[in-house]
Subunit: 195 residues, 2 copies
């Protein structure tokens, strides 16, 4: 490692500190505040460490995909799930963000981290599909633990939860989607009892 | 994966959400607030992904050590570096925390994650020593980026920085310590110029 190389690496690591200030829609379990994208990324990496262990995917690779998957939000912002977005515009913003942010690294590592991010986005490898499933499962779990969370705030119905979370979780892990459906069913049944 | 197994795994993943509410002493780079241990763990995992790449350590293992290294703080709290602690008491609290928290997982995974945490604490393997070095390097970098941060707050001298950060960083990565010393020297020299 040359000094210049480490200087570039530390500049990148200082810059991505800003992910701690990107605020998502989900509330943390104690409901005191909304979650930021840096702690969300840690939580997802822990989901991978625990849940990928029983799957036929490369756990370490799933973890790496999840560690980098939200870094582009530093420039491009978080696109909330239950909102309307121009997907072409989001994609253009995120591509520019990836170029600037990963571009702070030495060239070989810029290529490597960009490739991880693109692999996650493309959702074609088993690891990327599983990582995407976890990225849907985690806010689903948080919502069931916080009285409905973003579902309640956005008047999202049980059917909409199935439509918006189901395909991605099912594609990455059918068994996790089966179990998630139980959580969703129980949540909406309790919510209806409370009316 | 059985349903009971996933239920235990999700209970653990819900419980460790609380790491997002454990507040550390370091400020995030924009100085708006102190850092929490969950986002700190993500940041460290990124340090590993970028910096371990050039070392002779198993990067994936360093990342796993860092993802779990602070989980015991959920019960035991963070022990600030520049404070006085009864280390026996901290150790007892952290052991009890590890038993309760990792104990929420299925037995095989409880053993696995406890082993990762103990490996980090023991700092005997090259991966654990490198992880420990990053856990010192990250707050050092944050302090140099936030006008001295916890050093200024606690009247820590340049010599004390060397004594408290040097041995751990040096032991995990001599080259990173050489570069960190430059950052420290520059920080204290600028600070003195400002007097």
């Amino acid at each position: 490692m040359s000094e210049d190389r480490i200087t570039e690496q530390l500049a990148f690591l200082a810059e991505i500190d800003a992910l701690k200030s990107v605020v998502r829609q989900s509330r943390i379990v104690d409901r005191s505040r909304r979650e930021n994208s840096a702690e969300h990324s840690w939580h997802l990496a822990m989901f991978a460490l625990v849940l990928a262990d029983d799957e036929t995917v490369d756990t370490a690779r799933v973890i790496k995909l999840l560690l980098v998957h939200d870094i582009v939000e530093i420039d491009a912002g978080d696109a909330p799930m239950h909102g309307n977005h121009d997907s072409k515009e989001v994609e253009a913003r995120e591509n520019a963000a990836a170029e600037r942010l990963f571009g702070l690294l030495p060239d070989d590592q810029a290529a490597k981290l960009s490739a991880l991010w693109r692999e996650f986005e493309a959702a074609e490898t088993p690891e990327a599909r599983f990582a995407k499933a976890l990225d849907r499962l985690q806010p689903l779990l948080l919502n069931t633990l916080t009285g409905g969370g973003t579902w309640t705030e956005n008047h999202v119905t049980e059917q909409q939860v199935h439509d918006r979370y189901g395909p991605t979780i099912q594609r990455g892990s059918p068994i996790l989607w089966r179990q998630a459906q139980d959580l969703v069913r129980r949540h909406f049944s309790d919510a209806n009892d409370g009316l």
